[in-house]
């Protein structure tokens, strides 16, 4: 079994999805919930086991069907991919846990769909084959389409439709890009592609460039990079919050794929194509940060605000990816984990706050007070401090590190200026949102104490369900833990980034079996 560990984070979610469709999970709600949550966490722990095994034994290549690269499909477990697999598995488990409080019954097939989504995401993280990446993109996209409809109304379906159509176009472009690359390189294994790209001559170089650029376009669409980000705010803000929380990992798949393609296939060793379009990507990333910050300021409800925070994080990540140094990639890895956990937590909080505020929901305006101000307030404070990047939580480490990593680059000054201004906008908007949501009540003065009894009563009725609380706490805990263990985590990130940039080693292990 242990030698198949690499394949388990992919296969287990699929198996879970199947189990949840079959009896006795199909009909019985209680069994389905227990199975879904248990198997979700098992997937997480298996992923963790893989992470530790990669830590001790180094990168692992798993040849599916016993066909070695470049002919068959291989799964590549390196520190980066396993870290992300752990992250998505955790998010998936937390998401189903949260949904057991009732959200899962607002439409059919919630649990299997989440696990199928994780199947796709984990497959995309682990695969070493470009076409297989496409397949897993399809898996995660089709699951995400279905999940977006979950508990949907008219407005939500409309936004979901845009998402679906945009991504269908994206899939078509993906296929065209793969066709072009296969036509030029004659191979689909990423390591093999990377090797062949370096050997290209004459006009073939430009064809490969087209293929590579189109791939980046696809990943930019998935990751929501300007100007392909427009679908995101509405889609995320109208989706059921727990689904939006799960989708926190989805943009990261785009960024991750960009990292792979950009750093590995078209990286240092790619000859003429080394770091193609770096300038373009850099400016687009910076513009994405600006646009995200603008969106954050403009947001009128909490979910929209968080959706725009996702855009800021994508811009930041892509900017880091384009810097193409080990240090920048290390920060990107740390920041990726941090931002995923925090934005997911914020989406969940938006749901809880909105639920307790009744009619005004999560709109940033005066309304009924939440019934559990202490609990939600503290959680919001933690998440806010983390997302703003203030000490003592994970966001501040990411902020310092990324500033440090970008200083030496050509565009350091511009990036710093813009990033810090965006940080200020986020600081203001989040603080204002929090102060309004929690403190600004319809009848402001003197009303604060009359309803204490009533408040307790309300809390009883619509208080946070234990499952929801557990899910929230798991996500929130990420911020302080990532700060306390910043030392080992940053070392891990540097190790992962070093591996990512170690071209020869990757080729060697994936194609030659480490010989």
């Amino acid at each position: 079994m242990i030698q198949h560990l690499t394949s388990l984070p992919v296969l287990l979610p699929m198996l879970t999805g199947i189990i949840l469709l079959m009896p006795p999970c199909g009909k019985n709600k209680a069994i389905r919930r227990i199975a879904s949550v248990t198997l979700g966490f098992i997937t997480f722990f298996v992923s963790l086991a893989l992470l530790f095994s990669v830590q001790t034994d180094g990168m692992q290549v798993y040849a599916i069907g016993n066909w070695s690269a470049p002919f068959g499909i291989v799964l590549v477990a390196d520190p980066l991919s396993t870290l992300l697999v752990c992250l998505s598995a955790l998010l998936g488990a937390v998401c189903v846990l949260y949904a057991t409080a009732g959200d899962d019954e607002k439409g059919s097939f919630f649990h299997p769909l989440v696990h199928f989504l994780i199947f796709g995401v984990n497959g995309a993280f682990l695969t070493g084959d470009a076409f297989n990446l496409f397949v897993f993109f399809e898996v995660l996209l089709i699951s995400s389409y279905a999940l977006l409809m979950h508990g949907g109304d008219k407005k939500n379906t409309r936004a979901a439709l845009q998402y679906v159509i945009m991504n269908l176009v994206g899939s078509a472009v993906f296929l065209i890009a793969l066709g072009i690359l296969y036509g030029v390189l004659g191979t689909l294994n990423m390591a093999d592609m990377a090797q062949k790209v370096a050997l290209l001559q004459g006009d073939d170089v430009y064809l490969a460039k087209i293929g590579g650029l189109l791939l980046i376009v696809v990943f930019a669409l998935k990751g929501a990079l300007l100007p392909l980000h427009l679908w995101l705010p509405n889609t995320y803000a109208t989706a059921m919050p727990i689904v939006a929380a799960l989708f926190a990992i989805m943009t990261k798949v785009g960024v991750y794929s960009m990292m792979r393609v950009y750093t590995f296939i078209f990286g240092e060793e790619a000859g003429q194509l080394t770091h193609m379009a770096q300038n373009w990507l850099w400016w687009l990333a910076v513009a994405t940060i600006a646009m995200g910050a603008l969106g954050v300021l403009a947001s009128q409800d909490l979910r929209k605000l968080v959706a725009n925070l996702v855009i800021v994080s994508v811009g930041t990540l892509v900017a880091l990816v384009t810097v193409q140094t080990v240090e920048a990639s290390s920060v990107a890895i740390y920041y990726l984990v941090h931002s995923t956990l925090v934005t997911a937590a914020l989406f969940i909080l938006a749901d809880l706050i909105g639920h307790q505020r009744g009619k005004v929901a999560d709109r940033i305006t005066a309304g009924t007070p939440v019934s559990q101000p202490m609990l939600l307030g503290i959680c919001f404070l933690i998440a806010a401090v983390a997302v703003i990047g203030m000490p003592p939580l994970s966001g501040f480490i990411a902020k310092i590190w990324l500033l440090k990593a970008t200083w030496e680059t050509e565009y350091g000054v511009i990036f710093w200026t813009l990033y810090l201004l965006a940080s200020l906008a986020v600081l203001f908007a989040v603080a204002k949102a929090g102060s309004t949501l929690f403190w600004q009540h319809k009848a402001t003065t003197n009303k604060h104490k009359i309803s204490e009894h009533k408040l307790a009563e309300k809390a009883q009725q619509e208080g946070v369900h234990p499952a929801q609380l557990a899910a929230l706490l798991i996500l929130i805990a990420g911020a302080p833990l990532m700060s306390v263990f910043a030392g080992p985590l940053s070392e891990y990130a540097v190790g992962a980034a070093t591996d990512l940039h170690n071209f020869n080693n990757n080729i060697n292990i994936i194609l030659l079996g480490g010989k």
Binding site: M14, G65, L113, G120, V135, T187, S435, G487
Partner: protein, 930 residues
């Protein structure tokens, strides 16, 4: 470890006091006081060593990779601040016990206060600049919480947000500045940075980092023009103001100036920015303070002014000025904290802070009045009090500078003017509040406060007096040691004394006092003049600026994200066009080295049909039915092309997929209007036509470039190994179920999920059911043609047999699970068409969910099966068996996998059909037949 304990104890105190909610007020206060008192003792204990010139250090590794460690140090400057923070903190905690009303949560205030205390201690004791910033931002957060303590008050929320925005913005600038500074030196360690003056000042980044760090300091210390948040922070409870705005928060900026004085000061830039800012703030604050009717407002502006004074002293770039600055830090903290507390008492006892109402308090609270008057006199700089001493030093230093060249004389003159205003507002504070007739309708009947509420003020006022009278006795040690730290090891000869003889500074003091009294007595004219000026309301302007910013961003965002799918798609296509088209310009030659084959009539005809089909789809896109038929032409031509170029598997797949999708789309069309209205303007059509043609040209060119190039790929390996390694002669099928079976596994999942998704979407979708077609004709009476019904029914077994045959032979000849599944599905679809979904629903009671699940399970477990043979997932097995009567037969695990594919395809397709069909089935017949 002792050093680390100081902030740790205060943090511990914060946690402890947050848990005292159930205890009485006295118990809560006592418990809260323990930790800071222990910390204060430790600090006093360490003082002699520091006075002796020792610097205590402690380092714990935290984030070595970033050069960030937990590093503390205690030198003279830090000791001075630690002492102030702890001592005044303790007094404030004690004071707050009596200040807070029963409705206010005491644990909350205490825990925030001590969190803030921790942050301040962290700032002053940091030996790592990043750690310093860490605590710096922590003060912003905790002060936000403190200012918004009365969160239900609008001004508290707004004040807190304003303070957070301004100081938070400054904090970001500071971070940038510190990082640059660290970058210049190559370390974030403060010891190293402080020892690198030459390197720093020679660096090209010196100016940038100086300005950024100063931005941080000035926003925190409320220097002009960033001062406006401070008065609004007065919405906090008075103990908070006494703490934050006398000894701590605002002093953090001053501390920063002092801390980096050794490396940043000494240049012209430093002088200009720091001294001019300080001078402006000094004058501005002193002037505005006079006009404030709110007691705390007066004190707020007075604080701004005194901070300006200290800043100015640091800006003067002389050693003695620096000593004076440090001395004034101490003095300001003592008299300002006591004044805030006195104000708190007055507010507490009268219910208002409006000086126009509070008059003649001397009669009601003589004891408090005396204390407040002494403190106010110190603020004004009256002899025998500590404020006088540092002010004298200040005057002396303004005289000893030559920084403005021939205009240097302006500085002492302006300093005297500011001092005069300072006397004037102090006079107003004393005279208006304690004398000046009788109080005017106060909300409460004033009297002396509880005995112990005065204790903190008494202590502080006593300090004002002792320092003022015996300066050498009390503050020499700490002043020398702090100056030692700030000046980098060198302390100038100085003597703090009450009497320096008749000299110029004394004359300036005299002028200031006389001028101040004159201003106060003649204030009527000034007030009139001030009233005639346009009023600037900082809060309003801030609110307005924010409002404009938010509205602007909303406008921009709404204009960009207008929700139009057409726009998003256009952008997408433009980006694709750019990405795919740009490299083509760089390319030299499109056509590759391969010899071109002749086109031939059949090929040309097929291509033409394909193009006509595609173009017709676009032309008739508003008539959906026609458009759909045209798409099917395209699909059919593609499958013909596959056949033509010897890809029978693909052709079969394409054909069956085509049939299924067209039928499903027809079903869907039932719910849509037959025609869509004309929506695009001619200009837009032109634009879209341009984009799509360009895309067509680009993609076409790329395809042409690729197919005309010689092609080497891994596919040769597949052809060579198909039979030997995969056990099948149909390479396509072997690729699908073996070489790249993992892809297939993913794709059947996609199909299954798609079916689940469609079921999910349609499950609760109320759709409008048209009663007639678009021209108003009712639907045909005879819904299910008899002929079709009987033929399709008899065809069903045959179709199933064919699909079974296709399935079985797939491994070696065109066919396979996917195609077979589609054929089976088509056979069932035909039944649906012929009999309607109600008819089927009765006869075919299958749970599609389970079918899909089992199909996927079979495929997955076939793959997992190889684990039992110690082979990786999906390793296939095959062998040939000789069976009597039948002959040699091949058994392959791939067949089992293909079975999974088959079942999933059938299940998914039928589920989609059933979900769509159900929409029509459930409606009453009459409605459909109108």
């Amino acid at each position: 470890m002792t050093l680390l304990w100081i902030p740790l104890l205060s943090l511990l105190g914060s946690i402890i006091s947050s848990m005292t909610g159930k205890l009485s007020r006295n118990q809560s206060t006592t418990l809260s006081l323990i930790m800071p008192i222990i910390a204060l003792f430790m600090c006093v204990n360490m003082a002699p060593a520091v006075f002796a010139g020792e610097e205590i250090r402690e380092t714990i590794s935290w984030l070595p990779l970033l050069g960030i460690n937990i590093a503390f140090r205690l030198d003279g400057l830090a000791l001075l601040f630690v002492f102030m923070i702890l001592a005044i903190g303790i007094l404030v905690i004690f004071y707050a016990r009596y200040y807070l009303s029963k409705n206010d949560s005491m644990p909350k205030l205490y825990s925030y206060l001590m969190l803030f205390m921790t942050a301040m201690l962290g700032i002053v004791m940091s030996n790592n600049v990043i750690q310093l910033w860490f605590f710096w931002e922590l003060t912003s957060i905790s002060s936000f919480l403190l200012i918004s303590y009365w969160w239900y008050k609008s001004e508290a929320r707004k004040g807190a947000l304003m303070a957070l925005t301004i100081t938070g913005g400054g904090g970001l600038a500071l971070l940038a500045g510190l990082l640059i500074l660290g970058n210049i030196v190559g370390s974030y360690n403060l010891d190293i940075i402080l020892a690198s003056k030459e390197v720093i000042q020679a660096s090209q980044w010196y100016e940038v980092s100086l300005i950024l760090i100063l931005l941080g300091a000035f926003t925190k210390s409320a220097q002009f023009p960033f001062h406006f948040w401070l008065p609004h922070a007065m919405a906090a409870p008075t103990p908070v103001s006494a703490y934050l705005h006398s000894a701590t928060m605002v002093k953090a900026g001053i501390f920063l100036l002092a801390r980096f004085y050794p490396v940043l000061a000494g240049t012209d830039l430093w002088f200009f920015i720091v001294s001019i800012t300080g001078l402006t703030t000094l004058l501005f604050g002193a002037y505005v303070a006079l006009f404030k009717h709110d007691l705390k407002g007066l004190l707020a502006y007075s604080t701004i002014s005194h901070l300006g004074l200290i800043t100015l002293l640091f800006g003067l770039n002389t050693d003695l000025a620096t000593v004076a600055a440090i001395f004034h830090i101490i003095n300001h903290a003592t008299f300002k904290a006591s004044l805030f507390m006195a104000t708190g008492i007055i507010d507490h006892e009268t219910g208002t802070r409006d000086m126009r109402k509070i008059n003649g308090m001397w009669k009601f609270m003589p004891y408090t009045a005396t204390l407040a008057m002494v403190a106010a006199a110190s603020m004004a700089g009256v002899p025998l009090l500590n404020g006088f001493l540092s002010k004298e030093m200040f005057f002396a230093e303004t005289l000893h500078q030559q920084l403005l060249g021939s205009l240097s004389w302006v500085i002492p003159v302006l300093a005297t003017v500011a001092a005069a205003f300072s006397v004037a507002y102090s006079a107003r504070f004393i005279h208006d509040v304690f004398f000046n007739g009788d109080p005017i309708d106060l909300p409460k009947q004033p009297h002396e406060p509880p005995r112990y509420m005065r204790v903190p003020i008494e202590i502080l006022v006593a300090l004002c007096l002792i320092v003022g009278i015996f300066p050498n006795f009390v503050v020499d040690d700490i002043l020398v040691s702090a100056s030692h730290a700030v000046l980098g090891g060198y302390v100038p000869e100085f003597k703090v004394a009450l009497w320096h003889g008749f000299n110029l500074p004394l004359l300036m003091s005299a002028f200031a006092v006389m001028g101040g009294i004159l201003i106060y007595t003649q204030r009527r004219y000034l007030f009139l003049f001030q009233a005639s000026l346009p009023t600037v309301n900082a809060k309003k302007s801030f609110d307005n600026a924010i409002y404009v910013l938010i509205k602007w961003s909303q406008q921009k965002i709404n204009a960009i994200e207008n929700g139009s799918l057409q726009r998003y798609l256009m952008l997408m296509f433009l980006v694709v066009l750019l990405a795919a088209g740009w490299p083509l310009f760089e390319m030299n030659k499109l056509v590759g080295a391969k010899e071109l084959t002749p086109i031939g009539l059949h090929n040309a005809l097929g291509a033409a049909l394909l193009m006509i089909g595609a173009i017709s789809t676009v032309i008739w896109y508003r008539t959906r039915m026609v458009s759909l038929l045209m798409i099917s032409v395209v699909g059919l031509m593609v499958s013909v092309a596959f056949t033509r170029f010897s890809a029978p598997d693909l052709a079969l797949t394409q054909l069956t997929v085509e049939v299924v999708t067209i039928v499903l789309l027809m079903l869907a069309l039932f719910f849509l209007p037959q025609h869509s209205p004309r929506e695009s303007s001619s200009m837009r059509i032109l634009r879209d036509l341009g984009i799509s043609s360009a895309l067509g040209i680009v993609i076409g060119s790329i395809c042409y470039a690729i197919i005309t190039r010689p092609f080497e790929s891994i596919s040769d390996f597949f052809v060579a190994n198909s039979k030997t390694g995969g056990g099948g002669t149909n390479v396509v099928n072997v690729i699908l179920v073996d070489f790249r079976g993992f892809d297939t596994l993913g794709e059947i999942c996609v199909l299954g999920i798609a079916a689940l998704g469609i079921y999910k979407l349609l499950g609760n979708l109320p759709l409008f059911m048209p009663g007639s077609d678009s021209e108003g004709r009712p639907w045909a009476k005879e819904r299910y043609p008899v002929l079709l019904a009987s033929i399709s029914q008899s065809l069903l077994p045959l179709a199933l047999l064919v699909s079974f045959y296709i399935f079985l032979r797939g491994h070696n000849l065109p066919g396979g699970g996917f195609i077979a599944g589609l054929i089976t599905a088509i056979a069932f679809i035909l039944q649906y068409i012929a009999h309607g979904s109600n008819w089927i629903a009765v006869r075919l009671t299958i749970n599609y969910r389970k079918i899909i699940g089992s199909g996927l399970a079979i495929a997955l477990f076939t793959g997992i099966g190889s684990w039992f043979f110690d082979k990786p997932f999906m390793t296939t097995w095959f062998d040939y068996f000789d069976i009597p009567f039948i002959g040699e037969i091949e058994l392959a695990s791939a067949l089992l996998f293909d079975l999974g594919v088959y079942i999933t395809v059938v299940g998914a397709t039928l589920m989609i059909l059933a979900s769509l069909g159900e929409l029509t089935a459930n409606t009453p017949k009459e409605e459909v037949n109108i």
